[in-house]
């Protein structure tokens, strides 16, 4: 397993922790941030962050 694939696997674990209960419950409340409800905002941000980080990580070692 290459370095980047191990890092991505680690990111997979982080993603599971971030996107599912119990951590998710922390954002599961009726509040808004910048006019956008907090749960959708958090979910899309976390998602975008996952994609972004995985993009950066997969550039880690050139083929």
């Amino acid at each position: 397993m290459t370095k980047s694939s191990r890092r991505l696997a680690a990111l997979f674990v982080i993603g599971i922790v971030a996107l599912y209960p119990p951590l998710l419950e922390a954002f599961n409340r009726p509040a808004s941030f910048l006019g956008i409800p907090i749960l959708p905002l958090y979910l899309f941000s976390a998602w975008g962050a996952l994609v972004l980080v995985s993009w950066i990580l997969s550039r880690g070692d050139t083929p």
Binding site: A9, Y20, L24, P30, I36, L43, L50, V51, W55, S58
Partner: protein
């Protein structure tokens, strides 16, 4: 023109664009440019995951349940983070094993047999058909929506029907280009990529329009939504909202498994994967695509809820622009949804069709249509390809049928999730299959069956109830009124939504039975391993033939041609099996391969008698192969024997013995055409000498070997009772009871040089075509070797002749040389002798004449004596010079003879007279005797006289004082034999010949000075030879010597030829 026309035109036009793209890509690939070998293309092609469910259904779900649509994309996002590790391993494994579908994978993981694959395929078809129906429904519904007409009741008026037809044609053309499923379908992939780009682009355009054009911006929409309590709950999970936390988790798990295991996903992920490293890009690019296509779902849904009134939430994307009069945008949205639906239908149909054919459609087809079996060596690849296309059409139409019957009552998401929850039934089998050694086939079968059963019970049957097909009491009271068995609250489990409930139970049953049966049945770690191919023997050509039957010649050549020249049979078999597996499915391939390696009986049951014909031929051809091998060995040995020797007879005999040994012919013969135009038996085994003698005859059509020779074609007589050319045959049969024979022409460079024949006396015989071919090949080899040997013989003979000639010449030259040297030596000897001999008398003459001149020799007596000496010496000098002149004349060939008839008597008298002074000097008595009857001789009188004088002078020289010299003449053998006998000391026998040589003098031991010129005998011999006689001497030491010479007799002119010069 009404709307229907334009929308239909749009759909058709779009499909034509797809055809063009797919066609161009396939063309490009044929010319060597792979447009799909690109990580981006691969990533985007995976977006076939986003179907019309995503395009329309996500919005609908967001509008009703809020964030419930998200887990469907979060699951795939997370699982793709494992792309470079877990998925890459899966893809590599599948590609290495030639796996083309999930049932294939299960077969590979759990060993041979068709039950597991067949069950998996059944599960797939049952689970996926609603999903295809869902796509067709979306197409039909949006079409109707856009054209504003009411849903058509008839099939022909139903847009989704036509779409189904068009899509199956597309799938048939570009998804079933080859029977070999592991071959990539680049045209199809390119089309899918195009569709993915279209649907994303359209969604973003529409999403932006709806969000900003209708909703007035993100913050505005959210402000309004939060203010609305009905909508505010959409932003939360759990109680009160549409999605509970368990649902959130279970939907994630469902989608994570579906994004890998759904037939279309598996196909795109594994089969269309060009290089596994593309997965690295896909691990973030595909999630990015999902994020992009989802980011505006919530705003659109909210806008729909805020402004859409009672529009169907599933189709806000089209209806919202329509309500604002933006028909163009609605058309665009239709196009996006259309592309989402079409790509899914196409890939799904292709993947399912491959599956159905492999597990075990091909085998079933073979059972239904015996034509597939016999004749077995027919190329069935084209038929199989059409079967595949028919299956594709069938799958799409099945989806359509589902849509027609019960699809109307379900939302897009509900139907989609129904399919997803089937996919998760495969997860235990695949996951544990890949990493657990204790896995067993029975466990996998039981687990899958149990999970599928629970799925039917908890999800499918309730959906039938929803469609009104079943009584609702089934749901509310349970079957037969047993509440514990209520499908949606099985064993009293409640508090979960339908999906979570179904997942919990089905996975529990699935994994439970999987492990129970695995533990019960797996006996050893490798018991369930894929059975290795037995070591076997098969040739490339044989396997190519086999492959050609199923996948066509081009593919067969490609597959086997890619292997190294001298691949082991094992390697060839593996490649063949992989290719067959990819065309017919692993079980069928395994059966076919096994049946090529074993007797058909062993596998008769398992093969379902499908490929019985194939195996039969293969077994036959195995025998043929072995025979062929032996024949090749014979040819090889023959050529070996032929190269061993250049002697014709040796090599013919060796080859005949070889044929006798290998094929058991008792009588063999080789006839060669000799220079006299007769065909002769040059070499044979076991033929009678008599037959060999009489069979030498010119080649005619009256004999079998003759017509074989003249026609240059083998002649085969399998039973001599039926012969039609009895000439010679009776002679042959007299010695040996010939019952069958074969003649083969020996052809070299287009010329027949002979006939090779084999006779047998073991009864009538059937000569196979192969044998005749082999025999003819042997004959030709023999012809070549014979010709070579002949040429070699000729060359050798020629070189021998040359050598002899050279040796002879050399010897002649050497002789001439020694002779020349001898002559040279003799000449110098001669010169020195001559000068010496000339000087002796000259010295005497000079010294005596000096004495006479210088001193006053008064004594007259003395003076007279001196003058006498001078006179004698001068005479001797004259004689010597005369002799020399004679000799040089003789040597130069200028000696002229004038022969005439002569009486010997006067010649004798003249010679004695001439030599009288010599006789007188030594007081020698001469007796002359001549036979009375001696006739005249024919000779030159002067020369005869010269010879006689010489001999007499010689005799005188060696005779003692007062001796007797006998002169004789008599007849002998038609010659006159003249002899001169003296009483001297005789001549040693070793010198008898040499005395005739020039200047050879037998010196008198008493006298130091020679007694003559030494030329007399030489001259005599030359003269006698010239006259046609012979001269020789006979002597014994102390007994005197006799010189003989012969002179021809005179013959009357009419009595015959006369010796002349």
């Amino acid at each position: 023109m009404n709307e229907t026309f334009w929308v239909a035109l749009l759909g058709i036009g779009y499909l034509l664009v797809l055809f063009a793209i797919a066609y161009a890509t396939d063309k490009a690939r044929e010319s060597g440019h792979s447009l799909v070998d690109n990580p981006w293309v691969y990533s985007v092609s995976l977006a076939v995951y986003c179907t019309s469910w995503t395009f329309y259904g996500s919005v609908g779900q967001a509008a009703t349940t809020g964030l419930g649509f998200l887990p469907i994309y979060l699951g795939p996002t997370l699982i793709f983070l494992l792309g470079p590790s877990l998925l890459k391993r899966l893809v590599s494994f599948c590609r290495a094993e030639g796996v083309t579908s999930l049932p294939d994978l299960l077969e590979v993981l759990y060993g041979k047999g068709w039950a597991l694959g067949a069950l998996a395929t059944t599960v797939m078809v049952v689970g996926i058909t609603p999903y295809i129906g869902l796509q067709l429904k979306a197409v039909g519904y949006t079409f109707d929506l856009l054209t504003g007409r009411s849903a058509a009741s008839g099939i022909l008026g139903d847009a989704s029907f036509w779409a189904a037809l068009a899509l199956s044609i597309f799938a048939g053309l570009f998804g079933a280009r080859s029977l070999v499923a592991s071959e990539r379908h680049e045209g199809m992939v390119a089309a899918v990529v195009f569709e993915s780009v279209v649907k994303l682009g359209v969604f973003l355009v529409l999403g932006l329009y709806i969000t900003y054009g209708i909703g007035g911006g993100l913050s505005h929409i959210f402000e309004k939504a939060v203010a609305d309590p009905n909508l505010a709950r959409l932003f939360l999970l759990g109680d009160g909202s549409g999605v509970s936390m368990p649902t959130w988790v279970s939907l994630s798990i469902l989608s994570a498994s579906a994004v890998v295991l759904l037939p279309r996903q598996f196909h795109m992920l594994v089969v269309e994967n060009v290089q596994p490293r593309h997965l690295r890009t896909a691990s973030w690019a595909f999630p990015a695509y999902l994020l992009l296509i989802n980011v505006l779902v919530l705003p659109v849904a909210l806008v729909g809820r805020l402004y859409g009134g009672d529009l169907v939430p599933d189709f806000y994307m089209i209806s919202l622009p329509l309500t604002r009069g933006h028909t163009g945008l609605a058309f665009l949205a239709f196009l996006g949804g259309f592309s989402a639906a079409t790509s899914m239908v196409i890939v799904e149909a292709v993947a399912l069709a491959t599956m159905i054919l492999h597990h075990p459609g091909v085998a079933v087809l073979g059972g239904l249509f015996p034509g597939f079996r016999n004749p077995a060596n027919r190329d069935v690849s084209a038929h199989l390809l059409y079967a595949k296309r028919a299956v594709i059409l069938g799958v799409v139409l099945l989806g359509y049928a589902f849509k027609r019957s019960i699809g109307e009552s379900h939302t897009l998401v509900a139907t989609g999730l129904l399919s997803f929850s089937v996919m998760i039934q495969f997860v235990p089998a695949v996951l544990f299959g890949l990493c657990w050694k204790g896995r067993s086939r029975t466990g996998a079968l039981a687990g899958l069956a149990a999970g599928f059963g629970v799925w039917i019970y908890t999800l499918l049957l309730p959906s039938f109830v929803d469609s009104g097909w079943m009584n609702e009491t089934f749901l509310t009271q349970g079957p037969w009124g047993i509440e514990m068995l209520r499908p949606r609250e099985l064993f009293g489990l409640h508090g979960f939504d339908t999906w979570t409930h179904a997942i919990i139970w089905s996975l529990l049953f699935n994994m439970g039975t999987y492990f129970i049966f695995s533990f019960l049945t797996s006996h050893s770690a490798d018991g369930s391993q894929r059975t290795e191919l037995p070591a076997a023997w098969a040739t490339k050509a044989e396997l190519e033939g086999l492959l050609t039957q199923f996948v066509g010649a081009r593919m067969a050549q490609e597959v086997l041609g890619a292997l190294p020249e001298r691949s082991s049979p094992q390697l060839l078999l593996e490649a063949t099996e992989r290719c067959l597996a990819s065309a017919l499915g692993t079980p069928s391939a395994h059966m076919i391969i096994n049946s090529t390696l074993a007797w058909p009986r062993e596998h008769a049951v398992e093969i379902l008698d499908v490929f019985g014909g194939v195996s039969q031929t293969l077994v036959e051809s195995r025998d043929a192969l072995e025979r062929r091998l032996r024949e090749l060995m014979v040819l090889h040995e023959a050529s070996h024997a032929l190269s061993r020797s250049l002697n014709i007879d040796t090599l013919l005999q060796e080859v005949l013995q070889l044929i006798k040994r290998e094929f058991g012919f008792e009588h063999l013969g080789v006839r060669l055409l000799d220079e006299d135009g007769l065909l002769r038996i040059r070499s044979h085994v076991g033929l009678s000498d008599e037959y060999v003698k009489i069979s030498a005859m010119p080649p005619t059509r009256d004999t079998y070997f003759g017509s074989c020779f003249l026609n240059a074609r083998p002649v085969v007589v399998g039973d001599t009772r039926e012969i039609s050319k009895p000439l010679l045959f009776s002679k042959l049969v007299k010695a040996v009871p010939i019952s069958a024979f074969i003649h083969a022409p020996m052809i070299y460079e287009g010329r027949v040089i002979g006939v090779l024949t084999a006779y047998t006396s073991r009864g009538a015989m059937h000569f196979t075509d192969e044998f005749v071919e082999l025999f003819a090949a042997l004959a030709n080899q023999l012809a070549m070797a014979t010709t070579n040997a002949r040429l070699y013989g000729e060359i050798q003979a020629y070189s021998h002749a040359m050598e002899e000639k050279v040796a002879r010449r050399t010897a002649e030259l050497e002789k001439a040389n020694t002779r020349l040297l001898e002559l040279d030596r003799l000449k110098s000897d001669f010169l020195s002798t001559v000068s010496h001999e000339l000087r002796t008398p000259l010295t005497s003459i000079r010294s005596f004449s000096e004495i006479l001149l210088r001193y006053d020799v008064n004594d007259a007596e003395k003076r007279r004596k001196f003058i006498d000496i001078i006179h004698n010496e001068a005479e001797r000098l004259t004689r010597m010079i005369n002799d020399l002149l004679d000799l040089s004349k003789i040597e130069a060939g200028r000696l002229e003879l004038f022969p005439e008839p002569l009486e010997l008597k006067p010649v004798f008298a003249r010679s004695i007279g001439t030599s009288q002074p010599l006789f007188a000097e030594k007081g020698i008595n001469v007796i002359s005797t001549i036979e009375e009857s001696l006739p005249q001789v024919f000779a030159d009188a002067d020369r005869l006289h010269q010879v006689l004088t010489n001999l007499l002078a010689n005799a005188v020289k060696f005779s003692p004082e007062g001796g007797t010299i006998r002169l004789g003449g008599k007849m002998k053998d038609g010659f006159a034999l003249i002899s001169v006998t003296d009483e001297g000391p005789g001549i040693p026998p070793d010198r008898l010949e040499r005395i005739f040589e020039r200047f050879h003098q037998v010196r008198d031991p008493q006298q130091s000075s020679p007694l003559g010129t030494g030329l007399g005998l030489t001259i005599s011999r030359e003269i006698v030879d010239k006259m046609g006689g012979k001269i020789w001497g006979e002597s014994e030491l102390g007994e005197g010597a006799v010189f003989f010479f012969t002179v021809p007799l005179y013959k009357e002119p009419n009595g015959g030829s006369v010796q002349t010069t």
